[in-house]
């Protein structure tokens, strides 16, 4: 009996309808918090943080580069786990989250690579270097894009989900390589600014806006993930009666 109740809870969590209805009221809050954090962090970092002693003002790119890279990597784990949950428990919502995470992850990896390139020019003298960190990050972008492209290779939606979940799981090997690349190889890329195990190698005046930006990116990620997944739910479940009722209600209100 107890076990049974636990499972209904688990399955309700995996129900697209439950997710769609539950997340509705979160959206304005999440959007407001993300916008406030991102705008505050960006203005603070760009105009008020002190310039770096060696890199001057070009270091301000860090306020976009580091949060985007952070979320690109964390998002990969989220995507791979969502894929695994989908494979094991056959939860549809899980695959939808996986697909949304792939799109957002690809965009964030692109931001990380682009901001890295324009930071590289004034700092290293080159936009692109085939350095371990940058190359493994490029592989991450290809993994994300591969997840999106692979879906189109299948006519059957279920096989597409399974195949991309497996690709996502195999690709997780790359994530620790990216993290460790600056320690394992002699790289041009500077070592991590923030480590969980030690104090940040940054002055508090520079670090505070970075922390705000990272928090802002986390909220933004959650917001984008929910928005993409809600759109996907409507498309996938358009024949379900609850979706039809919802649309009919909206029409009636117009």
């Amino acid at each position: 009996m107890k076990l049974n109740r636990q499972w209904t809870w688990f399955h309700r969590l995996g129900s697209p309808r439950w997710f769609y209805q539950k997340t509705q009221c979160w959206l304005p809050w999440l959007g407001a918090i993300a916008a406030i954090l991102l705008v505050t962090g960006l203005v603070w970092g760009l105009a008020f943080a002190p310039p770096d002693a060696r890199q001057g003002n070009s270091f301000r790119i860090i306020y976009l580069h580091v949060p985007a890279s952070f979320l690109a990597l964390a998002g990969y784990y989220l995507m791979a786990i969502a894929g695994a949950v989908g494979l094991i428990w056959r939860i549809k919502l899980s695959f939808m989250l996986m697909k949304s995470a792939a799109t957002i992850g690809a965009a964030l990896t692109f931001i990380a690579l682009f901001t890295g390139a324009v930071w590289g020019k004034p700092t290293w003298g080159a936009y692109w270097v085939w350095d371990a960190r940058i190359t493994s990050m490029l592989i991450l972008l290809f993994l994300y894009l591969g997840m999106l492209v692979l879906r189109h290779a299948f006519t059957n939606h279920e096989s597409a989900n399974k195949a991309s979940a497996i690709l996502g799981l195999v690709g997780t090997v790359n994530v620790p390589i990216i993290y460790k690349s600056v320690d394992w190889w002699q790289t041009l890329h500077q070592p991590a600014t923030i480590k969980l195990t030690s104090a940040p190698s940054m002055h508090p005046d520079m670090f505070a806006p970075l922390l705000v930006m990272i928090l802002g990116f986390y909220c933004f990620y959650a917001l984008a993930l929910i928005l993409f997944t809600r759109a996907e739910i409507l498309e996938r479940e358009r024949r379900a009666s609850w979706v039809r009722e919802l649309v009919a209600e909206k029409q009636g209100g117009l």
């Binding site: 002190p50 965009a107 928005l227 809600r230």
Partner: protein
Amino acid sequence: MQFDNVQQLLVMDGHGVYVWSAVFVSVCVLIGLIIRPLRQHRRAIKKIARELNLKKTGKLTGNSQEASDASNT
């Protein structure tokens, strides 16, 4: 503020081009990540509404499966 005026904030001792292009591209991508699902969502609602209206007006006969497949194409 670290800069005396807007001019200095834009130039950033010669690093402005790099910093501001990074900001511009990132912000565009982030906005795109919000707009795209919103448009997808609106499109899905319109599509479902069309299907419902077709059924209601009786322009399409047959089961709902056929109706939604027809409006898919």
